[in-house]
Symmetry: C2
């Protein structure tokens, strides 16, 4: 997550102010690792790939891997970064109801549907990013972002405890939970979406 910030900083020289640049070899290695990880995950499946595998495939030491990404969930988060920011821009500046302009309850429902689709589309990676360590999910930068968005909408909707309701909605959309619904209970994505939309609307009601 911090690395996303770092890379943006590199891309926008005007912002690179007093903060030290990432060294060239560091940047090169980050790309090597991400490429290798993506390839291995696609080929063998996320569950079958160890951090040693990634390091070896990237031609990089394990220490480098961990220095760059913190832990396994950090690596997953870095890989998800791009897909995630699509959703983020759709929320911040896309057309309603996902983007600004629609009533809060509609926007929340649209968010829930879109986020569910995102989690479902990247189930294994999101699982990894949320469960690599205990409580990993709640410490994610992206989690804070979604949580903040939902809380804003719920506040605008005028319901009590907007923060807690936001957490509740996101807790229901955990990768683990979505996997359970989809794989263990064989629910279709449309059915699930309808249910989740209904729940969002309930939560956005006083």
């Amino acid at each position: 997550m911090n690395d996303a910030v770092a890379s943006h900083r590199r891309d926008l020289p005007l912002l690179s102010g007093g903060v030290p640049q990432e060294r060239a070899d560091a940047a090169r290695n980050r790309m090597k690792v991400l490429a290798a990880a993506e390839r291995l995950f696609d080929t063998l499946g996320v569950a079958a790939v160890s951090m040693d595998d990634v390091a070896a495939a990237a031609g990089v030491g394990k220490g480098t891997l961990y220095r760059r990404f913190g832990d396994k969930s950090g690596l997953a988060a870095a890989l998800l970064d791009e897909r995630e920011s699509e959703l983020q821009t759709a929320i911040l500046s896309g057309p309603p109801p996902l983007g600004p302009g629609a009533p809060p309850a509609d926007r929340l429902a649209a968010f829930a549907a879109a986020y569910l689709a995102y989690v479902d589309a990247h189930l294994d990676l999101v699982t990894l990013s949320q469960t690599a360590s205990a409580g990993a999910r709640l410490r994610t930068g992206s989690h804070r972002l979604w949580q903040h968005h939902c809380a804003i909408l719920l506040t605008a909707a005028g319901v009590p405890d907007p923060q807690i309701r936001a957490d509740t909605l996101l807790a229901a959309l955990t990768a683990e939970q979505v996997r359970h619904w989809r794989r263990d209970e064989n629910r279709s994505l449309p059915d699930l979406t309808a249910a989740v939309v209904a729940i969002s609307r309930r939560l956005a009601t006083v």
Copy 2:
């Protein structure tokens, strides 16, 4: 969880039918392990105790530990068994609104409050039982029980998607989530209870 069944079977000879009994040494070792684990967890804290520690303290091999409890979360579940069944009997045969007799929405709200209190009271053990392995929480016997209870109430309340709403409520009451609210955000148990009760009532509304 299977061991809970096994022990009940031993206590009720009439039910011991064709199913093979647990061997005497096995039963003895189970007690030794549970006693040792409880002591270690109380003394050092759940996080600081390894399975080797438990095995050593119980004077038992690691294999025995794992044969008996499956994995770390199984051990935690076994330790929680007693506290859990108090809540279960209160639900099944205690006074309303937790027990039978009250309207479904009231019972669901009472359950949410009681379950939150239970999770809060045994945070570390419940965390362990829910997060030792990926998806552990959803495979727990007790989870199925709570889920079933909530789904029944939501069905009685006449809302759509009772199963999914039940999962949503329980997802919000994950040990990880409760820890986050209580420790990271310093919410008081009463405030949290009020919020969770309100959410339950929302979910029990068409």
